[in-house]
């Protein structure tokens, strides 16, 4: 039950993009088209889930064991960078069309603050291994969810008459604000 709560909380109630302001760069950059948003969301979810699990292992079984918990940031970012590198190589070998579709976005996942953010949060809240995994998965699902919504809106927006200075990032941010407002409606959902 607690796992379900963690999942819903990460995905919707405390959505990483709309509540914690993480993952804004891909949110602004990749939401022009539904297809790229979905691909990015999927890849990010995959990385996030794995990150949740692996960083737990690194922190509790390595950093704490050797008495160097302050090396957290260095260790985590190395884990994330390596993970993304390995996944990139794997996708390139196993599914070349997907690799070409994701293009530059795959290595960009490394600098996605949401991934490091979720690792830090999970460590801060002292989640267990399974909880960290679910937390990562929930965060990824929430991220993908919001990416899809924003991409859908922006595709519709192509037909609207947005003033020139506001096209692109500005209108997306304002839309994100309205979305964040809507998502605040979820805040009573979990008594946590």
């Amino acid at each position: 039950m607690r796992l379900l709560l963690i999942f819903i909380s990460a995905a919707v109630v405390n959505n990483f993009v709309l509540s914690y302001f993480l993952g804004i760069c891909p949110f602004l950059g990749v939401t022009g088209r539904l297809k790229s948003a979905f691909g990015m969301g999927l890849a990010t979810t995959f990385v996030m889930t794995l990150t949740g699990g692996i960083t737990w292992v690194v922190y509790h079984l390595i950093l704490v064991r050797f008495g160097v918990p302050f090396l957290q940031y260095v260790a985590y970012i190395l884990v994330i960078a390596s993970l993304v590198q390995v996944i990139e190589m794997f996708i390139r070998k196993s599914n070349p069309s997907l690799y070409r579709a994701l293009g530059i976005y795959l290595p960009l996942i490394t600098t996605n603050c949401a991934i490091l953010g979720l690792a830090l949060f999970a460590t801060l809240r002292d989640y267990g291994f399974l909880q960290s995994l679910v937390y990562g998965f929930g965060a990824g699902v929430g991220f993908t969810f919001v990416m899809l919504i924003m991409a859908g809106i922006r595709e519709e927006l192509d037909l609207a008459d947005v003033p020139k200075p506001f096209q692109g990032a500005a209108i997306t941010l304002i839309l994100a604000g309205l979305l964040a407002l809507a998502f605040m409606g979820f805040s009573g959902l979990i008594y946590a």
């Binding site: 709309l18 957290q72 260095v74 490394t110 490091l116 304002i174």
Partner: protein, 205 residues
Amino acid sequence: MKTSWQLYLDLVKGLWRENPVFRLLLGMCPTLAVTTTALQGFTMGMAVVFVLILSGVVISSFRKFIPHQVRIATFTIIIATFVTITDLTLAATFPPMSKALGPYVPLIVVNCIILGRMEAFTSKQPVSRSFMDALGMGLGFTLTLIILGSIRELLSSGAVFGYQILTTQAAGGWFRPWVIMILPPGAFITLGILLGIINTFSRKS
């Protein structure tokens, strides 16, 4: 050519023409997250300046020795080290501010401004130019944070940097604070409108 005019340009471009947030659209995450008050924005900006300059100087000094293949990983480790130092220093010297900024100080590690500048500029330029570029970008970022923070703080509590400017209704005045400004929607909408306004003026020139 390393003239002092060139160095001056490197410094100044980060403030407006290539302002990391408004023009390069980098470093959005902390911009939205820590600007609930102007002081928080200022502190975060200073932390980023610190990390930018130190990482920039180190990376620029060693740029001839870092193999091309592993450059991103190397940059990241160097940046992460300085961020760790910054985070621990901040927690030790200003605990309440450190708590307020929370996880966003360690998230400087993945701040696209730092990695982006290292990759695009610092790793290819001599130390003097890298230093100026880092300083300029950092100050430009701080400026942005202060502007955004001031707007949000002013509208959500009537104060800027703690100095009460508008008297709230609770204190007998007329101003009704806009609570939304502290919340995420307020941040998004404020930045969006600000960006739109700035784009309007940039297009004219």
